[in-house]
Amino acid sequence: MTPFSFGGELFGMWNWLDAVVRVVIVVTAMTLVVMYLTYGERKVVARFQQRLGPTKTGPAGLFQAFADALKLVAKEDIRPTNADRWVFELAPYATFVPVFLVLLVLPFAKDWGVRNLTLGMFFVFAVLGLNIVGIIMAGLGSGNKFALLGGVRAAAQMISYEIPLVLSLLAVAMVAGTLDLNQIAMLQEDRPFIVLQPLAFLIFFTAMLSEMHRAPFDIPVAESEIVGGYFVEYSGIRWSMFQLTEYASMWGFSVFGSVVFLGGWAFPFGEDWGWGWQLALTFMKSIAWILTIFWIRTTVPRLRIDQLMAFCWKVLLPLSIVQLVANGFILVYDWPQELLTATSGAGAVLLIAIIITRSVRRPKNKYVGSYRQVGVTS
């Protein structure tokens, strides 16, 4: 047992002081991570786009994050005259707090975390659902029509995608037989759950992108249409709270996703290699997860709101329900675990096939590659 283990060794006498110290450590670490995520995103995206990204502030632009933060704090905090004062001013907190609450239950290593709840996974969805309230508050309270559209779009999108998100996680919870995140990680010592539930992984990844409004689901913040959506009227520190929320939720989802699907700290070394390796594993897995998100963001355009909804209700939701039912049969009748991989793998293949057949079905495809051959006159 390290001083940091979940038993509360650090300040054994005063449980509340122990909790406060842990929260302060996690929140500080998180703020630093988030600041460097913005720097990392700028650098990575720049490489994708044949640019250099920040280079001037410090070596390789490393202090850019601090410069940005300083600029944002120094900026004037503007409230539009026709904004609803309290709704407008409280909205950043209402989005910011739930995302940081998620961090309370994430096991970064076997013994490293704030609190280990037995219903950890349930706590994560419950708290993330609250995020929507802040976004709607920002959209309605800004007194701006772009913000209103953004807020309404965000509400529709997040509520819809929460369902496949939760169902895909429930499939994993059925297999694990627990909602305790630390237990779930421990069960994956030999093989991560992505092997048993590939379909759940795909659905979770897609729904997660949508919940965070990352491309191709960045409809609520669509830069080229509604210029930032719900936070269009915010400036300075309040704007940076929205930004912080966005990156914190990205980091939170990445750690959560890697705990649930990729084995978190446990896969592949288990408990034997000590907390240093466990932390490093969590970190590496979540960074890989985040880089994938950046990669997708630079490559794909944005969906339209009806296409987004159709994809959720017509494709993701039925598939996740089918998976739940299949899992139920396999687990109740105690059939071998390979069947879980087989059924879920078949579902994953089906999901990819649906997407690919849609691309093949486009009638113009055969002409697209042949500009030089087609022509009327010469």
Partner: protein, 385 residues
């Protein structure tokens, strides 16, 4: 209580399920308007009910300025009409003045003009591809890909004419100066780079399922309707009518060039076809430039030596139609003697193409309205003159 003071507030007596349309003002400062265009959308939720375009924010009095200036001085204003393809606009202007004053142009100068005009067509279409990708939402990647090639084209312009965007390179009776020594080699290298750039953008955008899904079957248009609205250029060709002034009424040296008008049997004039048409045309422009480089006389004059110091034109009028990057770029010039035109008129293709916006946008989603506007590829310098 309503937060929108300009809108109707529902009283409790009215039907509870009535909805109120909302007006959204897009522009003149908005990333999707590509300049200072303004459209007021009436939306019912996400669906556009009505659209009212407002123009004129970039009006600079081009025609009047030209009438107030010497024929040569006015050149610089014409660069700034379609400012993405300055060379092509200059070409149209000098052709109109040459037709008015009946001035011959040396053969080498004709080839140089065509090379420059086609390069600026490629340049303009690159900007379209990049900006359109950004409209559809690809986070600037398409934009930066297009920018790489545009910078190279501008570098070449700078070497040839001394300026990048507004070169003022052409003159009545020829071009200002001969090409630099290494021009042919540089231009061939540039064409290779351009082809690579088009393929990169093609892979990034047309290779993407989401992009195709967003653009296909969106705001289709028939050839009849396009002609009725006065639409020309790539948008008209994307409806399936292969009408290109470079083929139909060849001017300059286009009659000696071999090139195709891109065409497919299933063209329907939707947003994807407009995109496809511009992408395909760029390959044809590159072909034209290659042929020019081969056919061009290796030496000789580039400016008519018989021109007087001050150009004075007798009574008369001339109208030329030029296949600009956005469509049919018509220049009308009328002289009543003296060194200034009595009347100049520009028939700007973007202005006419913009007239299709309202009927295309109605009934689509807000997100689609943005990409329909993007697919019309307007340049505000040309719309507002």
């Amino acid at each position: 209580m309503s937060i929108w003071p300009d809108e109707k507030v529902l009283t409790p007596g009215e039907a509870e399920f009535d909805t109120v349309d909302m007006t959204i003002n897009i522009g003149p400062q908005h990333p999707a308007t590509h300049g200072v265009f303004r459209m007021i959308l009436r939306v019912d939720g996400e669906v556009v009910v009505d659209c009212e375009p407002y123009i004129g924010y970039l009006h600079r009095g081009l025609e009047k300025l030209t009438e107030a200036n010497d024929y040569r001085q006015a050149m610089g204003y014409w660069d700034r009409t379609d400012y993405l393809a300055g060379m092509a606009c200059e070409h149209a202007y000098v052709m109109a003045v040459e037709a008015l004053a009946q001035i011959d142009v040396p053969e080498r100068a004709e080839y140089i003009r065509v090379i420059m005009a086609e390069l600026s067509r490629i340049n303009s279409h690159f900007l379209f591809l990049g900006a359109f990708g950004a409209d559809v939402g690809s986070f600037g990647t398409s934009f930066i890909y297009a920018w790489r090639e545009r910078e190279r084209i501008y570098d070449l312009f700078e070497e040839v004419a001394g300026d990048r965007m507004f070169p003022t390179y052409m003159r009545v009776g020829g071009v200002a100066m001969d090409l630099p020594d290494n021009f042919e080699q540089r231009c061939r290298w540039l064409l290779g780079s351009i082809r690579q750039g088009i393929e990169d953008l093609d892979g990034l955008l047309t290779g993407n399922e989401i992009f195709v899904e967003r653009c296909r079957n969106l705001a289709p248009m028939t050839s009849e309707r396009a002609i009725a609205l006065g639409i020309t250029g790539p948008i008209l060709r994307s409806t399936g009518l292969p009408w290109d002034l470079r083929k139909a009424e060849p001017y300059s040296v286009y009659d000696r060039m071999k090139f195709d008008i891109p065409w497919r049997p299933d063209l329907q004039g939707d947003v994807f076809d407009r995109f496809w048409m511009r992408l395909s045309e760029m390959y044809q422009s590159a072909r034209i430039i290659e042929q020019c480089l081969e056919q061009m006389p290796k030496g000789g004059l580039v400016l008519n030596p018989d021109l007087p110091k001050t150009l004075r034109v007798d009574n008369g009028e001339a109208y030329i139609r030029y296949e600009g990057t956005k469509g049919e770029y018509g220049v009308y010039a009328m002289s009543k003697g003296g060194n200034k035109p009595y009347r100049m008129k520009l028939r700007s293709p973007s202005f006419c193409n913009l007239s299709a916006l309202r009927e295309m946008v109605i009934g689509s989603y807000v997100a689609d309205a943005i990409i329909i506007l993007g697919s019309l590829d307007i340049v505000l310098g040309e719309v507002d003159k």
